[in-house]
Amino acid sequence: MINTSDILETINMIRQENLDVRTITMGISLFDCVSDDEKRLCDKIYDKITKKAERLVETGCEIEKKYGIPIVNKRVSVTPISIIGGDISPDGYIRVAKTLQRAADTLGINFIGGFSALVQKGMTEGAKRLISVIPEALTETQLVCSSVNVASTKAGINMDAIALMGKAIKRAAYLTRDNNSIACAKLVVFANAPEDNPFMAGAFHGMGEEETAINVGVSGPGVVASAIKRAGDCSLSELAELIKKTAFKITRVGQLVAMEASKKLDVPFGIIDLSLAPTPAVGDSVAHILEEMGLESCGAHGTTAALAMLNDAVKKGGVMASSRVGGLSGAFIPVSEDAGMIDAVEKGALTIEKLEAMTAVCSVGLDMIAVPGDTEEAVICGIIADEISIGVANTKTTAVRLIPAYGKKVGDKVDFGGLLGYAPIIKLNEYSPARFISRGGHIPAPIHSLKN
Protein backbone atom coordinates (compact mmCIF):
# COMPACT_ATOMS: atom_id res chain seq x y z
CA MET A 1 0.00 0.00 0.00
CA ILE A 2 1.04 3.59 -0.55
CA ASN A 3 2.70 5.04 2.53
CA THR A 4 0.11 6.65 4.85
CA SER A 5 2.24 9.70 5.54
CA ASP A 6 2.66 10.29 1.79
CA ILE A 7 -1.11 10.23 1.36
CA LEU A 8 -1.65 12.66 4.21
CA GLU A 9 1.13 14.90 2.92
CA THR A 10 -0.50 15.14 -0.50
CA ILE A 11 -3.94 15.84 0.95
CA ASN A 12 -2.51 18.46 3.27
CA MET A 13 -0.75 20.17 0.34
CA ILE A 14 -4.00 20.38 -1.59
CA ARG A 15 -6.40 21.24 1.26
CA GLN A 16 -4.26 23.41 3.53
CA GLU A 17 -1.43 24.73 1.40
CA ASN A 18 -3.28 25.68 -1.80
CA LEU A 19 -1.48 23.26 -4.12
CA ASP A 20 -3.18 23.46 -7.48
CA VAL A 21 -2.58 23.16 -11.17
CA ARG A 22 -2.82 26.79 -12.23
CA THR A 23 -3.67 26.20 -15.84
CA ILE A 24 -4.12 23.75 -18.65
CA THR A 25 -3.51 25.81 -21.76
CA MET A 26 -4.21 24.38 -25.17
CA GLY A 27 -2.11 25.91 -27.91
CA ILE A 28 -3.80 26.00 -31.31
CA SER A 29 -2.15 26.94 -34.58
CA LEU A 30 -4.23 29.25 -36.76
CA PHE A 31 -1.96 29.21 -39.80
CA ASP A 32 -4.54 27.35 -41.87
CA CYS A 33 -7.13 30.06 -41.16
CA VAL A 34 -5.31 32.68 -43.23
CA SER A 35 -7.63 34.39 -45.70
CA ASP A 36 -7.75 37.62 -47.67
CA ASP A 37 -11.36 38.06 -46.64
CA GLU A 38 -11.96 39.37 -43.10
CA LYS A 39 -15.21 37.56 -42.53
CA ARG A 40 -13.85 34.29 -43.80
CA LEU A 41 -10.75 34.72 -41.58
CA CYS A 42 -12.95 35.27 -38.51
CA ASP A 43 -15.23 32.34 -39.35
CA LYS A 44 -12.28 29.99 -39.82
CA ILE A 45 -10.66 31.13 -36.58
CA TYR A 46 -13.88 30.63 -34.62
CA ASP A 47 -14.53 27.21 -36.14
CA LYS A 48 -11.01 25.95 -35.59
CA ILE A 49 -10.72 27.07 -31.95
CA THR A 50 -14.16 25.81 -30.95
CA LYS A 51 -13.58 22.48 -32.69
CA LYS A 52 -10.07 21.79 -31.38
CA ALA A 53 -10.76 22.87 -27.80
CA GLU A 54 -14.33 21.59 -27.71
CA ARG A 55 -13.71 19.21 -24.80
CA LEU A 56 -11.00 21.20 -22.98
CA VAL A 57 -13.10 22.48 -20.07
CA GLU A 58 -14.98 19.19 -19.64
CA THR A 59 -11.72 17.21 -19.65
CA GLY A 60 -10.12 19.60 -17.17
CA CYS A 61 -13.04 19.07 -14.80
CA GLU A 62 -12.83 15.27 -15.18
CA ILE A 63 -9.12 15.29 -14.30
CA GLU A 64 -9.82 17.55 -11.36
CA LYS A 65 -12.25 14.96 -10.02
CA LYS A 66 -10.03 11.98 -10.72
CA TYR A 67 -6.99 13.27 -8.86
CA GLY A 68 -8.77 15.52 -6.38
CA ILE A 69 -6.63 18.49 -7.35
CA PRO A 70 -8.04 21.87 -8.42
CA ILE A 71 -7.26 22.95 -11.97
CA VAL A 72 -7.88 26.66 -11.64
CA ASN A 73 -7.85 27.76 -15.26
CA LYS A 74 -8.55 26.25 -18.63
CA ARG A 75 -7.17 28.45 -21.37
CA VAL A 76 -6.39 28.60 -25.07
CA SER A 77 -3.42 30.23 -26.79
CA VAL A 78 -3.27 30.83 -30.52
CA THR A 79 -0.77 31.81 -33.22
CA PRO A 80 0.10 35.52 -32.93
CA ILE A 81 -2.77 37.24 -34.70
CA SER A 82 -0.55 39.81 -36.45
CA ILE A 83 1.06 36.95 -38.38
CA ILE A 84 -2.12 35.41 -39.65
CA GLY A 85 -4.00 38.71 -39.97
CA GLY A 86 -1.60 40.14 -42.53
CA ASP A 87 -2.96 43.21 -44.24
CA ILE A 88 -6.51 43.22 -42.90
CA SER A 89 -7.68 46.64 -41.73
CA PRO A 90 -7.24 47.87 -38.15
CA ASP A 91 -10.99 47.37 -37.68
CA GLY A 92 -10.52 43.85 -39.01
CA TYR A 93 -8.05 43.18 -36.19
CA ILE A 94 -10.65 44.33 -33.66
CA ARG A 95 -13.15 41.96 -35.27
CA VAL A 96 -10.64 39.12 -34.88
CA ALA A 97 -10.28 39.99 -31.17
CA LYS A 98 -14.05 39.84 -30.81
CA THR A 99 -14.05 36.49 -32.63
CA LEU A 100 -11.53 35.17 -30.09
CA GLN A 101 -13.81 36.42 -27.30
CA ARG A 102 -16.80 34.68 -28.90
CA ALA A 103 -14.84 31.42 -29.17
CA ALA A 104 -13.77 31.72 -25.52
CA ASP A 105 -17.40 32.27 -24.47
CA THR A 106 -18.54 29.23 -26.42
CA LEU A 107 -15.85 27.04 -24.86
CA GLY A 108 -16.33 28.37 -21.32
CA ILE A 109 -12.58 28.92 -20.88
CA ASN A 110 -11.04 31.52 -18.56
CA PHE A 111 -8.73 33.34 -20.99
CA ILE A 112 -7.59 33.25 -24.59
CA GLY A 113 -4.12 34.55 -25.48
CA GLY A 114 -2.45 35.38 -28.75
CA PHE A 115 -3.66 38.82 -29.81
CA SER A 116 0.05 39.30 -30.25
CA ALA A 117 2.84 40.60 -32.42
CA LEU A 118 6.54 39.72 -32.61
CA VAL A 119 8.42 42.89 -33.50
CA GLN A 120 11.85 42.46 -31.92
CA LYS A 121 13.63 43.29 -35.16
CA GLY A 122 11.06 45.29 -37.05
CA MET A 123 7.35 45.73 -37.62
CA THR A 124 5.27 44.39 -40.48
CA GLU A 125 2.21 46.32 -41.61
CA GLY A 126 0.08 43.71 -39.85
CA ALA A 127 2.00 44.13 -36.59
CA LYS A 128 1.65 47.93 -36.75
CA ARG A 129 -2.08 47.65 -37.31
CA LEU A 130 -2.55 45.13 -34.53
CA ILE A 131 -0.55 47.23 -32.04
CA SER A 132 -2.54 50.33 -33.02
CA VAL A 133 -5.82 48.68 -32.01
CA ILE A 134 -4.70 46.78 -28.87
CA PRO A 135 -6.33 49.32 -26.50
CA GLU A 136 -9.69 49.13 -28.30
CA ALA A 137 -9.51 45.34 -28.71
CA LEU A 138 -8.83 44.81 -24.99
CA THR A 139 -11.56 47.28 -24.03
CA GLU A 140 -14.19 45.64 -26.18
CA THR A 141 -13.38 42.10 -25.04
CA GLN A 142 -13.02 40.55 -21.58
CA LEU A 143 -11.08 37.31 -21.97
CA VAL A 144 -8.68 38.18 -24.79
CA CYS A 145 -5.05 38.72 -23.78
CA SER A 146 -2.43 40.53 -25.79
CA SER A 147 1.35 40.45 -25.84
CA VAL A 148 4.04 42.11 -27.92
CA ASN A 149 7.62 40.89 -28.07
CA VAL A 150 9.72 44.01 -28.53
CA ALA A 151 13.20 42.60 -28.06
CA SER A 152 15.38 39.52 -28.09
CA THR A 153 18.98 38.75 -27.24
CA LYS A 154 19.67 37.99 -30.90
CA ALA A 155 17.83 40.98 -32.41
CA GLY A 156 18.30 43.70 -29.80
CA ILE A 157 15.61 46.11 -28.64
CA ASN A 158 13.09 47.75 -30.94
CA MET A 159 12.72 51.15 -29.29
CA ASP A 160 10.14 52.31 -31.85
CA ALA A 161 7.94 49.41 -30.74
CA ILE A 162 8.49 50.31 -27.09
CA ALA A 163 7.33 53.86 -27.86
CA LEU A 164 4.16 52.45 -29.43
CA MET A 165 3.60 50.19 -26.43
CA GLY A 166 3.91 53.12 -24.01
CA LYS A 167 1.17 54.82 -25.99
CA ALA A 168 -0.96 51.64 -26.12
CA ILE A 169 -0.71 51.09 -22.35
CA LYS A 170 -1.73 54.67 -21.58
CA ARG A 171 -4.65 54.52 -23.98
CA ALA A 172 -5.81 51.12 -22.71
CA ALA A 173 -5.78 52.59 -19.17
CA TYR A 174 -7.84 55.57 -20.34
CA LEU A 175 -10.39 53.52 -22.29
CA THR A 176 -11.08 51.29 -19.27
CA ARG A 177 -10.87 54.19 -16.77
CA ASP A 178 -14.26 53.28 -15.30
CA ASN A 179 -13.07 49.77 -14.57
CA ASN A 180 -9.69 50.34 -12.85
CA SER A 181 -7.87 50.45 -16.20
CA ILE A 182 -8.33 46.66 -16.37
CA ALA A 183 -7.34 46.44 -20.05
CA CYS A 184 -3.69 46.96 -19.00
CA ALA A 185 -3.84 43.77 -16.91
CA LYS A 186 -4.39 41.84 -20.16
CA LEU A 187 -1.42 43.37 -21.99
CA VAL A 188 2.21 42.38 -21.61
CA VAL A 189 5.40 43.60 -23.29
CA PHE A 190 8.09 40.93 -23.68
CA ALA A 191 11.77 40.39 -24.32
CA ASN A 192 12.67 36.85 -25.44
CA ALA A 193 9.02 35.71 -25.25
CA PRO A 194 8.68 31.92 -24.94
CA GLU A 195 6.57 30.27 -27.63
CA ASP A 196 4.96 27.68 -25.35
CA ASN A 197 4.01 29.76 -22.33
CA PRO A 198 0.74 28.62 -20.71
CA PHE A 199 0.41 31.70 -18.49
CA MET A 200 -1.59 34.83 -19.27
CA ALA A 201 -1.43 37.52 -20.36
CA GLY A 202 1.61 36.44 -22.36
CA ALA A 203 0.51 33.09 -23.78
CA PHE A 204 0.61 32.56 -27.53
CA HIS A 205 1.17 29.51 -29.70
CA GLY A 206 4.59 30.02 -31.29
CA MET A 207 5.57 29.46 -34.88
CA GLY A 208 7.72 26.41 -34.19
CA GLU A 209 4.91 24.63 -32.38
CA GLU A 210 2.77 21.70 -33.45
CA GLU A 211 -0.77 22.00 -34.74
CA THR A 212 -2.05 21.76 -31.16
CA ALA A 213 -0.32 21.23 -27.82
CA ILE A 214 -1.19 20.91 -24.14
CA ASN A 215 0.92 23.12 -21.90
CA VAL A 216 0.48 23.02 -18.14
CA GLY A 217 1.45 25.53 -15.50
CA VAL A 218 1.75 24.34 -11.91
CA SER A 219 1.61 26.37 -8.76
CA GLY A 220 2.28 25.95 -5.07
CA PRO A 221 3.98 28.82 -3.23
CA GLY A 222 2.04 27.79 -0.09
CA VAL A 223 3.52 24.29 -0.18
CA VAL A 224 7.08 25.63 -0.40
CA ALA A 225 6.48 28.21 2.35
CA SER A 226 5.04 25.53 4.68
CA ALA A 227 7.95 23.16 4.01
CA ILE A 228 10.45 25.92 4.86
CA LYS A 229 8.50 26.77 8.02
CA ARG A 230 8.56 23.14 9.16
CA ALA A 231 12.32 22.92 8.51
CA GLY A 232 12.97 25.57 11.17
CA ASP A 233 16.52 26.86 11.63
CA CYS A 234 18.60 25.06 9.03
CA SER A 235 21.32 26.25 6.68
CA LEU A 236 20.61 27.64 3.21
CA SER A 237 22.19 24.51 1.66
CA GLU A 238 19.61 22.38 3.46
CA LEU A 239 16.88 24.81 2.47
CA ALA A 240 17.88 24.59 -1.21
CA GLU A 241 17.60 20.79 -1.02
CA LEU A 242 14.21 21.04 0.65
CA ILE A 243 12.87 23.44 -1.99
CA LYS A 244 14.14 21.13 -4.75
CA LYS A 245 12.33 18.14 -3.27
CA THR A 246 9.12 20.12 -2.79
CA ALA A 247 9.29 21.50 -6.34
CA PHE A 248 9.76 17.95 -7.60
CA LYS A 249 6.51 16.84 -5.96
CA ILE A 250 4.57 19.86 -7.19
CA THR A 251 5.81 19.42 -10.73
CA ARG A 252 5.01 15.71 -10.78
CA VAL A 253 1.37 16.61 -10.26
CA GLY A 254 1.58 18.94 -13.25
CA GLN A 255 3.20 16.24 -15.35
CA LEU A 256 0.51 13.74 -14.40
CA VAL A 257 -2.28 16.18 -15.24
CA ALA A 258 -0.61 17.17 -18.53
CA MET A 259 -0.16 13.55 -19.66
CA GLU A 260 -3.76 12.72 -18.75
CA ALA A 261 -5.11 15.78 -20.55
CA SER A 262 -2.97 15.03 -23.57
CA LYS A 263 -4.29 11.45 -23.70
CA LYS A 264 -7.93 12.32 -23.13
CA LEU A 265 -7.95 15.15 -25.67
CA ASP A 266 -5.69 13.34 -28.13
CA VAL A 267 -3.49 16.42 -28.30
CA PRO A 268 0.32 16.17 -28.01
CA PHE A 269 1.86 17.09 -24.68
CA GLY A 270 3.80 20.33 -25.02
CA ILE A 271 5.55 21.45 -21.85
CA ILE A 272 5.28 21.88 -18.11
CA ASP A 273 5.94 25.38 -16.88
CA LEU A 274 7.89 25.04 -13.62
CA SER A 275 6.29 27.95 -11.94
CA LEU A 276 5.55 29.23 -8.48
CA ALA A 277 2.50 31.30 -9.30
CA PRO A 278 0.98 33.15 -6.36
CA THR A 279 -2.63 34.22 -5.85
CA PRO A 280 -3.94 36.93 -3.55
CA ALA A 281 -5.25 34.19 -1.20
CA VAL A 282 -3.69 33.84 2.24
CA GLY A 283 -0.94 31.22 2.18
CA ASP A 284 -0.34 31.38 -1.57
CA SER A 285 2.39 34.00 -1.73
CA VAL A 286 5.94 33.99 -3.12
CA ALA A 287 6.82 36.98 -0.90
CA HIS A 288 5.92 34.89 2.15
CA ILE A 289 8.38 32.19 1.03
CA LEU A 290 11.13 34.82 1.00
CA GLU A 291 10.03 36.00 4.44
CA GLU A 292 9.93 32.42 5.69
CA MET A 293 13.53 32.10 4.48
CA GLY A 294 14.46 34.78 6.99
CA LEU A 295 13.75 38.24 5.59
CA GLU A 296 11.81 40.62 7.82
CA SER A 297 9.91 41.74 4.74
CA CYS A 298 10.05 41.04 1.05
CA GLY A 299 12.05 43.93 -0.41
CA ALA A 300 14.65 43.98 2.37
CA HIS A 301 18.31 43.75 1.38
CA GLY A 302 18.90 40.06 0.73
CA THR A 303 15.64 39.66 -1.22
CA THR A 304 17.39 39.27 -4.58
CA ALA A 305 19.71 36.58 -3.17
CA ALA A 306 16.83 34.68 -1.56
CA LEU A 307 14.77 34.86 -4.73
CA ALA A 308 17.70 33.73 -6.90
CA MET A 309 18.16 30.67 -4.71
CA LEU A 310 14.45 29.91 -4.64
CA ASN A 311 14.13 30.23 -8.39
CA ASP A 312 17.12 28.01 -9.06
CA ALA A 313 16.00 25.32 -6.62
CA VAL A 314 12.49 25.28 -8.11
CA LYS A 315 13.95 24.68 -11.58
CA LYS A 316 16.35 22.00 -10.41
CA GLY A 317 13.60 20.07 -8.64
CA GLY A 318 11.11 20.60 -11.42
CA VAL A 319 13.34 19.60 -14.32
CA MET A 320 13.73 16.10 -12.98
CA ALA A 321 10.00 15.75 -12.42
CA SER A 322 8.98 16.51 -15.97
CA SER A 323 9.81 15.05 -19.33
CA ARG A 324 9.66 18.42 -21.08
CA VAL A 325 10.00 21.83 -19.54
CA GLY A 326 9.34 25.23 -21.07
CA GLY A 327 7.28 28.39 -20.78
CA LEU A 328 8.32 30.95 -18.22
CA SER A 329 9.53 28.43 -15.61
CA GLY A 330 10.40 30.12 -12.33
CA ALA A 331 8.96 32.07 -9.44
CA PHE A 332 6.49 34.79 -10.42
CA ILE A 333 6.43 38.10 -8.58
CA PRO A 334 3.23 39.84 -9.71
CA VAL A 335 2.56 42.52 -7.13
CA SER A 336 -1.24 42.63 -7.17
CA GLU A 337 -1.59 38.84 -7.21
CA ASP A 338 0.53 38.19 -4.12
CA ALA A 339 -0.65 39.10 -0.61
CA GLY A 340 2.93 39.37 0.69
CA MET A 341 4.04 41.64 -2.16
CA ILE A 342 1.02 43.90 -1.61
CA ASP A 343 1.88 44.23 2.11
CA ALA A 344 5.54 44.91 1.33
CA VAL A 345 4.66 47.70 -1.13
CA GLU A 346 2.10 49.19 1.27
CA LYS A 347 4.58 49.43 4.12
CA GLY A 348 7.28 50.87 1.86
CA ALA A 349 9.61 47.87 2.07
CA LEU A 350 9.35 47.01 -1.61
CA THR A 351 10.05 49.62 -4.28
CA ILE A 352 9.95 49.47 -8.06
CA GLU A 353 13.76 49.59 -8.15
CA LYS A 354 13.99 46.49 -5.94
CA LEU A 355 11.33 44.74 -8.02
CA GLU A 356 13.40 45.45 -11.11
CA ALA A 357 16.48 43.93 -9.48
CA MET A 358 14.46 40.87 -8.48
CA THR A 359 13.37 40.29 -12.06
CA ALA A 360 17.01 39.78 -13.06
CA VAL A 361 17.04 36.49 -11.17
CA CYS A 362 13.52 35.11 -11.53
CA SER A 363 10.79 34.44 -14.00
CA VAL A 364 8.89 37.10 -15.93
CA GLY A 365 9.42 40.70 -14.87
CA LEU A 366 7.63 43.80 -13.64
CA ASP A 367 4.25 42.18 -13.39
CA MET A 368 0.89 43.61 -12.34
CA ILE A 369 2.33 46.81 -10.94
CA ALA A 370 -0.06 49.74 -10.57
CA VAL A 371 1.55 53.12 -11.20
CA PRO A 372 0.05 56.63 -10.95
CA GLY A 373 -2.54 57.39 -13.63
CA ASP A 374 -0.79 60.58 -14.68
CA THR A 375 2.52 58.82 -15.39
CA GLU A 376 3.90 60.20 -18.65
CA GLU A 377 4.09 57.94 -21.68
CA ALA A 378 7.88 58.40 -21.83
CA VAL A 379 8.25 57.19 -18.23
CA ILE A 380 6.26 54.04 -19.02
CA CYS A 381 8.52 53.50 -22.05
CA GLY A 382 11.57 54.04 -19.83
CA ILE A 383 10.38 51.39 -17.37
CA ILE A 384 9.74 48.99 -20.27
CA ALA A 385 13.16 49.70 -21.83
CA ASP A 386 14.96 49.10 -18.51
CA GLU A 387 13.19 45.82 -17.85
CA ILE A 388 13.51 44.57 -21.40
CA SER A 389 17.25 45.31 -21.43
CA ILE A 390 17.67 43.09 -18.34
CA GLY A 391 16.18 40.23 -20.35
CA VAL A 392 18.17 40.96 -23.48
CA ALA A 393 21.52 41.29 -21.69
CA ASN A 394 20.94 38.19 -19.56
CA THR A 395 19.46 35.97 -22.30
CA LYS A 396 16.27 35.46 -20.36
CA THR A 397 12.61 36.27 -20.69
CA THR A 398 11.47 39.48 -19.08
CA ALA A 399 8.16 41.21 -19.36
CA VAL A 400 6.31 44.30 -18.27
CA ARG A 401 2.66 44.48 -17.26
CA LEU A 402 2.02 47.94 -15.84
CA ILE A 403 -1.30 49.49 -14.95
CA PRO A 404 -1.24 53.30 -15.00
CA ALA A 405 -4.54 53.36 -13.10
CA TYR A 406 -6.51 56.30 -14.44
CA GLY A 407 -7.15 59.03 -11.88
CA LYS A 408 -5.20 57.22 -9.13
CA LYS A 409 -2.12 58.50 -7.33
CA VAL A 410 0.48 57.13 -4.89
CA GLY A 411 -1.31 55.99 -1.75
CA ASP A 412 -4.46 54.87 -3.61
CA LYS A 413 -5.34 51.27 -4.40
CA VAL A 414 -6.84 49.54 -7.41
CA ASP A 415 -8.86 46.36 -7.08
CA PHE A 416 -9.03 44.11 -10.16
CA GLY A 417 -10.89 41.28 -8.46
CA GLY A 418 -10.40 37.51 -8.65
CA LEU A 419 -6.97 36.08 -9.39
CA LEU A 420 -5.71 39.51 -10.52
CA GLY A 421 -6.03 40.80 -6.95
CA TYR A 422 -5.48 44.41 -5.88
CA ALA A 423 -2.50 46.72 -5.88
CA PRO A 424 -1.32 49.82 -4.08
CA ILE A 425 -0.09 52.51 -6.51
CA ILE A 426 3.70 52.38 -6.45
CA LYS A 427 5.94 55.45 -6.44
CA LEU A 428 8.06 56.06 -9.54
CA ASN A 429 11.20 58.09 -10.19
CA GLU A 430 9.92 61.43 -11.44
CA TYR A 431 12.82 62.43 -13.69
CA SER A 432 12.05 62.17 -17.40
CA PRO A 433 13.60 59.82 -19.96
CA ALA A 434 11.60 61.57 -22.73
CA ARG A 435 14.54 62.64 -24.90
CA PHE A 436 16.12 59.18 -24.76
CA ILE A 437 12.85 57.49 -25.74
CA SER A 438 12.01 59.98 -28.51
CA ARG A 439 15.27 59.15 -30.30
CA GLY A 440 13.60 55.91 -31.46
CA GLY A 441 15.51 53.33 -33.49
CA HIS A 442 17.05 50.10 -32.30
CA ILE A 443 19.35 49.17 -29.44
CA PRO A 444 21.74 46.65 -31.03
CA ALA A 445 21.93 43.06 -29.78
CA PRO A 446 24.45 42.63 -26.97
CA ILE A 447 27.79 40.92 -27.41
CA HIS A 448 28.07 37.58 -25.67
CA SER A 449 31.72 37.28 -25.08
CA LEU A 450 33.91 39.56 -22.94
CA LYS A 451 31.38 38.91 -20.18
CA ASN A 452 31.51 41.17 -17.16
Binding site: D6, Y67, G68, I69, L256
Partner: protein, 89 residues
Protein backbone atom coordinates in the same frame (compact mmCIF):
# COMPACT_ATOMS: atom_id res chain seq x y z
CA UNK B 1 -6.66 0.54 -11.08
CA UNK B 2 -6.84 1.69 -7.51
CA UNK B 3 -8.10 4.73 -5.70
CA UNK B 4 -7.48 6.13 -2.24
CA UNK B 5 -10.41 7.21 -0.09
CA UNK B 6 -9.56 9.34 2.94
CA UNK B 7 -12.15 9.93 5.62
CA UNK B 8 -11.65 12.38 8.47
CA UNK B 9 -14.04 13.86 11.01
CA UNK B 10 -15.61 13.44 14.43
CA UNK B 11 -15.81 9.78 15.44
CA UNK B 12 -19.22 8.09 15.55
CA UNK B 13 -20.70 4.61 15.21
CA UNK B 14 -20.88 3.16 11.71
CA UNK B 15 -18.48 5.29 9.67
CA UNK B 16 -16.62 2.33 8.17
CA UNK B 17 -19.93 0.54 7.57
CA UNK B 18 -21.39 3.47 5.71
CA UNK B 19 -18.35 4.02 3.48
CA UNK B 20 -17.98 0.27 2.84
CA UNK B 21 -21.66 -0.05 1.93
CA UNK B 22 -21.33 2.75 -0.61
CA UNK B 23 -18.25 1.05 -2.08
CA UNK B 24 -20.02 -2.32 -2.31
CA UNK B 25 -22.99 -0.72 -4.03
CA UNK B 26 -20.69 0.75 -6.68
CA UNK B 27 -18.80 -2.58 -7.15
CA UNK B 28 -15.67 -1.15 -5.58
CA UNK B 29 -13.55 -3.72 -3.75
CA UNK B 30 -11.69 -2.72 -0.59
CA UNK B 31 -8.03 -3.76 -0.71
CA UNK B 32 -6.66 -2.26 2.48
CA UNK B 33 -7.78 -0.08 5.37
CA UNK B 34 -5.71 1.96 7.83
CA UNK B 35 -7.80 3.53 10.54
CA UNK B 36 -7.25 5.28 13.83
CA UNK B 37 -9.04 7.55 16.30
CA UNK B 38 -7.04 10.43 17.75
CA UNK B 39 -8.86 12.09 20.68
CA UNK B 40 -12.31 11.67 19.15
CA UNK B 41 -11.06 12.46 15.65
CA UNK B 42 -11.60 9.68 13.15
CA UNK B 43 -8.98 9.16 10.42
CA UNK B 44 -9.24 6.42 7.81
CA UNK B 45 -7.36 5.72 4.61
CA UNK B 46 -8.88 3.10 2.35
CA UNK B 47 -7.25 1.61 -0.73
CA UNK B 48 -9.87 0.33 -3.16
CA UNK B 49 -9.92 -1.41 -6.50
CA UNK B 50 -12.00 0.47 -9.09
CA UNK B 51 -11.67 -1.91 -12.07
CA UNK B 52 -15.31 -2.96 -11.80
CA UNK B 53 -16.66 0.48 -10.94
CA UNK B 54 -20.22 0.77 -12.24
CA UNK B 55 -20.09 4.49 -12.96
CA UNK B 56 -17.59 7.18 -13.92
CA UNK B 57 -14.92 7.99 -11.37
CA UNK B 58 -16.34 11.50 -11.01
CA UNK B 59 -19.78 10.16 -10.10
CA UNK B 60 -18.30 7.77 -7.53
CA UNK B 61 -16.31 10.62 -6.01
CA UNK B 62 -19.46 12.79 -5.88
CA UNK B 63 -21.42 10.00 -4.16
CA UNK B 64 -18.83 9.69 -1.41
CA UNK B 65 -18.61 13.45 -1.12
CA UNK B 66 -22.36 13.56 -0.56
CA UNK B 67 -22.15 10.77 2.03
CA UNK B 68 -19.46 12.79 3.82
CA UNK B 69 -21.68 15.85 3.90
CA UNK B 70 -24.59 13.82 5.30
CA UNK B 71 -22.44 12.36 8.07
CA UNK B 72 -20.42 15.49 8.82
CA UNK B 73 -17.20 13.89 7.54
CA UNK B 74 -14.55 15.01 5.12
CA UNK B 75 -14.27 12.34 2.40
CA UNK B 76 -11.84 12.62 -0.50
CA UNK B 77 -11.52 10.11 -3.30
CA UNK B 78 -8.41 10.31 -5.43
CA UNK B 79 -6.87 8.07 -8.06
CA UNK B 80 -3.73 6.36 -6.74
CA UNK B 81 -1.62 7.75 -9.60
CA UNK B 82 -1.35 11.16 -7.96
CA UNK B 83 0.36 9.63 -4.90
CA UNK B 84 2.60 7.40 -6.99
CA UNK B 85 3.62 10.35 -9.16
CA UNK B 86 4.43 12.62 -6.26
CA UNK B 87 6.20 10.21 -3.98
CA UNK B 88 7.90 7.65 -6.20
CA UNK B 89 10.67 8.30 -8.69
Amino acid sequence: MKAVITVTGKDSVGIIAAVSAECAECAVNIVDITQTVLSDYFVMIMLVNIDELKMSFGEFSDKLDLLGKEKGLDIHTMHEDIFNSMHKI
